[in-house]
Amino acid sequence: MNAVGQPMPRTDGRLKVTGAARYSADVPLDGMAHAAIVHSTIANGRTVSIDTTSAEEAPGVVAVFTHHNMPRMNPTPEPWSHLHPHGQSYLPLLADAVHYAGQPIALVIAETLDQATYAGTLIKVEYEADQPVVFNRETAKEAVDPPPFLWPVASSVGDADEGIATAAVTIDQTYTTSDRHHNQMEPHVSTAVWDADETLTLYETTQHIFGARELVSIVLGIPPEKITIVSHFLGGGFGGKAYVWPHTLLAALAAKVVNRPVRLQLTRAQMYSMVGHQAATIQQVVLGAGEDGTLAGIRHDSISPTPVFDDYIEYAALAARSLWAAGTGIATNHKVVHVNRNTPTAMRSPHEALGHFALESAMDELAYATGVDPVALRLLNDTEIDPYSGRPFSTRAMRECLTKGAERFGWDERTPEPRSMRDGRYLIGQGMASAIYTHWRWPAKARVTVHQDGSALVETGTHELGTGTYTVMQQVAADALGVAPEKVTVRLGDTRLPASHPSIGSATMANAGASVMLAAKAARDRAIELALAGRDAPFAGAEPDDVLVADGRLVLARKSLEITYAELLARNGLSTVVGDGDYDPVEEALGPKAVFSFSAVFAEVRVDPDLGLVRLNRFVGAYDAGRIINPRTARSQAIGGIIWGVGQALLEQSETDPETARFANRNYSGYLVPTNADIPELDVLFAGGFDEEASPLGAKGLGELTAVSVAPAIANAVHHATGKRVRDLPITVEKIL
């Protein structure tokens, strides 16, 4: 029986439920010192003086660093790329300038964390402060055109404005989303260890060990082969640990100076300013359509904040480029406002989850304006050709997502009029939305070793962030080798393993997974060669294609011959056979077909009209993520994505104090993420199939997709329940009353 496609329990489950899984802050090291960052309380200006005398004299303090004595760093490379993944270009502790609140201005190293933290409070700082610039509707008027970094900033296919101008029905609305923070359960932590031969090991919270190695190499000016990055288990990433943030560099440099291991863990509060966040957006969507709902033109423009020193773009309007067909044209554009703020970053689901809120809310408004059912409206505007690139989609099961999702949800029983459905004192609302998600194709390497006892080892420099990587790689290798999954051990998260890509953008299954499959097949093929032409070859004279693998054996069915891997290796006097996998796909944009994941999601909310409270009642998500490798872990990712979207829809916002430009609630009691009690039963179904363009495994991205369009589905349900169209996230009490 194939392992792929089976709902296997996690192979690392026992480690995780017993506390034995070692995360980056759990690695025990002799002689380790602890670091604490002291950060700026102003958002714009400079430090005039930093008096560290008392801190240096405090018990247990080993060293105190400021811009006066911090070792120099090389500038981060421009432009930003996945290979050179700096979280932000501005490196702290090199000068007296302050560009954002929470910017590191000193670093204390002490014997214990309490000692370092307390000594940090003894540092006296004098500032020269200027008024900070914050993002709001006023400053958004000063938005400028940024340089591109992932995709073109603007797009225009056909003539969107013509389509809108001549349309029978137009929707023209502004939608806004809030600044949000990842708030992974595990705080970012770097533990730096220098060996006598000047090699550096970093135990790191990262979704990109090789990128971290590259960036640390450049900034510290040491060759990459002298650096090892280790991350065996990551306590949640969600994009926030994809790139290298300044604390990692500070830890590495400080450890060198004090000549002992240094651990630098950010406090929960520091996770709001020392690593990235999701920037707010102000988006305008204009739809032009015929009376039957057929789209003629789409215009989608977005403005988001970025720091004074970087041009980070939330590509919120990306979604409009490929989601629906529009007969006359589609145009999109992005602008940024430079503010006193650290650099935003990818956060589940970057770009798409923001843009879809606007676009799919507007589609619901169009449905009501035309009287066309929201599901029917989407079926009407579905397309087999990517409007942006003109290429056919590799696979697009949008229609299946819409119809199967609607059926599972019972959409037919919905009465479309707002406020028409009730449950006692509660108003019931049902809303839906669709989504499209970018597919990434990246190179990845892996190595698979079959041992004399018939067991196998998978080695690849990818990551386990909760997505089940140890488990799914085991399944993939097991099938390719024809061995039982429990015979396969998987090693990840170490730059001494074959190089892989960042675990972002839902890319790991399709790409790192492909490299594991290729490596396992290479090992298998090496074994088949031995069976055909090795010592005392059991299948001598047969063709390689005649040989099958199953149950730890090579089988020549035609002649009823078989031999186990173990026997084969023993017969050839080999301790192992090894296969290398080198997956080097063509970049998605250069392929013959457009590859995306798709979904249709359905939400039912319960609104207490007296108290303004909105709670999710039930939710159905239908996803086309290609072939599903492990339905159990895939379902978990999907419910996690839905709940991530519930947070975006109803709870999450990082407000900025207008005076100090600080994020106001830098903790879990002020920044609200969903609790268990906020979440009902969630229903997940997979409607896609094998996509050979996406990956040799047939898989497309899932994790990010599932967090997209939850917010508009909920907002549309709120409109259905109450008649109120909320165009500003999150949907809180005061917007309902």
């Binding site: 506390g19 705080p187 879990y668």
Partner: protein, 190 residues
């Protein structure tokens, strides 16, 4: 419980003895005596002092539940209490839940129902799950209990009750429905 020196500043002269002093902690059935500063939290003592890193620091403010352990059989947050206050108390951490190599039924159920993804909150979730079942058996009501005036029994431990009772443990991967299923199954089994 008087005013905590409002608006004051730390006065070292007034502190008596801030140096580490020995504390005897009974952790997972084993007695450990080691020196801690008065300010050392139980969490810090478990992780840094005893190397029991299964208990996680998520927020260090009592707002996430990742550091949940049992003290004298009750679930508490180890980040919000001091090690020096635990003298003579029986402390159980996630590492102490297995018996003779056998997983606790709640641990088994978490694996079966995929009640975690990244696993960082899992120690706290499992420790809470064990306690939630004990609390229900003891007849404790919750905010999800429709009428607190009536007796509560473990038979009333519905999914809604479990959701509320497990809400002190945040999970950002958001495995909540699976966590509820795991706790419900473990409660049913015993």
């Amino acid at each position: 419980m008087g005013e905590a020196n409002p608006g004051g500043a730390v006065d070292h002269a007034a502190a008596r003895d801030i140096r580490p002093a020995p504390v005897k902690l009974e952790v997972n059935g084993t007695s450990h005596t080691f020196a801690v500063e008065p300010r050392t939290t139980l969490l810090e003592a478990l992780r840094e002092g005893l190397g029991l890193t299964g208990t996680k620091k998520g927020c260090d403010r009592g707002e996430c539940g990742a550091c949940t352990v049992h003290v004298d059989g009750r679930r508490v947050l180890s980040c919000m209490t001091l090690a020096a206050m635990q003298e003579g108390k029986q402390i159980t951490t996630i590492e102490g839940l297995e018996q003779d190599g056998e997983l606790h039924p709640v641990q088994e159920a978490f694996i079966e129902h995929d009640g975690f993804q990244c696993g960082f909150c899992t120690s706290g979730q499992v420790m809470s799950g064990v306690a939630v079942i004990d609390e229900a058996k003891a007849g404790w009501p919750s905010a999800a209990t429709a009428d607190v005036r009536k007796p509560f029994t473990v038979a009333g431990l519905s999914n809604t009750e479990i959701r509320e009772r497990m809400s002190g443990n945040l999970c950002r991967c958001a495995c909540y429905p699976n966590i509820v299923a795991a706790v419900a199954e473990a409660a049913e089994k015993g």
